[in-house]
Assembly symmetry: C2
Homo-oligomer: 304 residues x 2
């Protein structure tokens, strides 16, 4: 189709020489010797059967034909350059949508680990609790969701099932034996279509839990954890989301033996087709998968 086109590398050389009106400067810009530029332009002229430069002593100037070709070559290179720059810039940007709690309590605190591993990537977190149609909404490259992972959807990839545990301040656990009417702090389900775990039934399987325990609901996990930190009760939340308070000793898990975690819903990613091939998206998704292993029931255990 473009068989008549001369070698594009000679056009690149010509573009530089025409722009700088000097073979020497062009050679410098292209990191080659002036001889190379001379050879290339001579070859281009031979190929086109056209004289592109008037050689004067110690200087060159463009012929009318050279002028036209230079304009075309410059335009072509400029536009290609723009596109390539834009693509590589966008390639290094990654916008992930997720819930406010997951973002605040797990993702943002862990981000430095990802940044360490992939320093080139500019990562943006869009923390909004309203669901986004990731297929349509081009503001996000991928989303991390909590709910029921769709089975027959190539875009959805299960990260693991939430493991809910009981967490309170060390002081609160000690108080329990004294006045035994504790509060269990839970997150209210905003989406009515999602199945809610039977918290009441699970609590009754724990023999150490005082029967007078009351359940109090909060809008999101963050509030639950804040309440627990304030000594208002026992937070029933994902292990994931209390990693920092646990690490700092502000909260501890229940001091009882034989208590299994309450299985919650799935964490999963949705990666739209338009992003699936992007290496930063892949990198982030696999980093997320690997990093989430501790703290969730891993993927294969949930495939019942």
């Amino acid at each position: 189709m473009f068989a008549r086109l001369p070698s594009l590398s000679s056009l690149r050389t010509f573009e530089a020489a025409a722009r700088l009106l000097s073979f020497k400067s062009a050679a410098h810009e292209l990191n080659v010797s002036p001889t190379a530029v001379s050879h290339q332009i001579r070859a281009l002229e031979d190929r086109l059967q056209l004289c592109l430069f008037e050689r004067r002593t110690r200087s060159v100037e463009l012929t009318p034909e050279g002028e036209r070709l230079a304009a075309a070559a410059h335009k072509a290179m400029h536009e290609l350059n723009e596109t390539v720059n834009e693509l590589t810039r966008q390639a290094n940007q990654l916008t992930v949508g997720t819930t406010a709690s997951f973002a605040a309590l797990w993702l943002v605190p862990k981000l430095h680990l990802f940044q360490q591993q992939y320093p080139g990537v500019e990562l943006n977190i869009q923390a909004e609790d309203q669901l986004r149609d990731v297929e349509q909404d081009r503001r996000v490259d991928m989303v991390i969701r909590y709910g029921c992972c769709p089975q027959a959807n190539a875009e959805a990839s299960l990260l693991g099932q939430e493991a809910l545990g009981l967490f309170a301040t060390p002081a609160y656990w000690q108080q329990l034996s004294v006045h035994s009417n504790p509060s269990v702090l839970v997150t209210s389900w905003k989406n009515p279509r999602l199945p809610r775990p039977n918290v009441q039934a699970w609590l009754q399987t724990i023999e150490q839990m005082p029967s007078a325990a009351q359940i109090r609901s909060f809008d999101d996990e963050n509030q639950v954890i804040q309440a627990a930190l304030a000594g208002q009760g026992i937070a029933l939340v994902s292990r994931l989301l209390v990693a920092l308070p646990l690490h700092n000793g502000w909260l501890t898990a229940e001091p009882w033996k034989g208590v299994d975690n309450l299985r919650g819903l799935d964490y999963y990613t949705l990666i739209p087709e338009r992003s699936a091939s992007r290496s930063t998206v892949r990198q982030f998704a696999s980093w997320l998968d690997a990093t989430l292993k501790s703290g969730l029931y891993p993927r294969h255990e949930t495939q019942n």
Copy 2:
């Protein structure tokens, strides 16, 4: 300036592969092996840190990034191709302006020799007797003029000085001895600013010329020659322009000894700056110079 741009040959390969959506077909189009295409595109992807194709079995499809780059690459190549085609097409066309007589009597009959030597050139002759400002009038690439060659003009190049001779039909020369009141057929000067040779004086130097000879003027050389061919008299015209009638024996030079040619004005070319670098222009000019040698006083003799 365009240091970030990947190798343009890889972009050319990518453009073909993206357009044909097949490495094999692209390889065929580019006259290389499919392996070469694979390597090139792999290298391009590595360079851009970007995945451009989704490899499926027995087929490839573009990623969204690939799509954008393909569009940009295609546009760039297309525009370059257009410009190059236009330039080479124009490079092979040559329009020469000259007088009707010179065109009809010398140039056009000789053109096949030029076409033989440079078969690629499309030559147009603009035969108009009104002068053209070759610098302004872009319809002609160069002109051949008759008159006084400007000395201090880089664009003007003297071809030689006209050599006027006396030509008539063989029958007419024979008649001369019988009834000795011949006509001398000359061309009238249209441009009053040009010096006119003193025909009268020159005729008187020819002792064999009957003193009763009358001078008759015609609009142009063509008419003079036609009149001579019709046996109406002795044409005083440039040797150049009677080459064909001489060759065919329709006209012969004066049968007298010791008659020098009458020197006329200059034939010269004007080549505007915009054309000076074009190889077809140079080729034609040098062919013209070489071919005109016979029939004109050559260049060096006129440099008095």
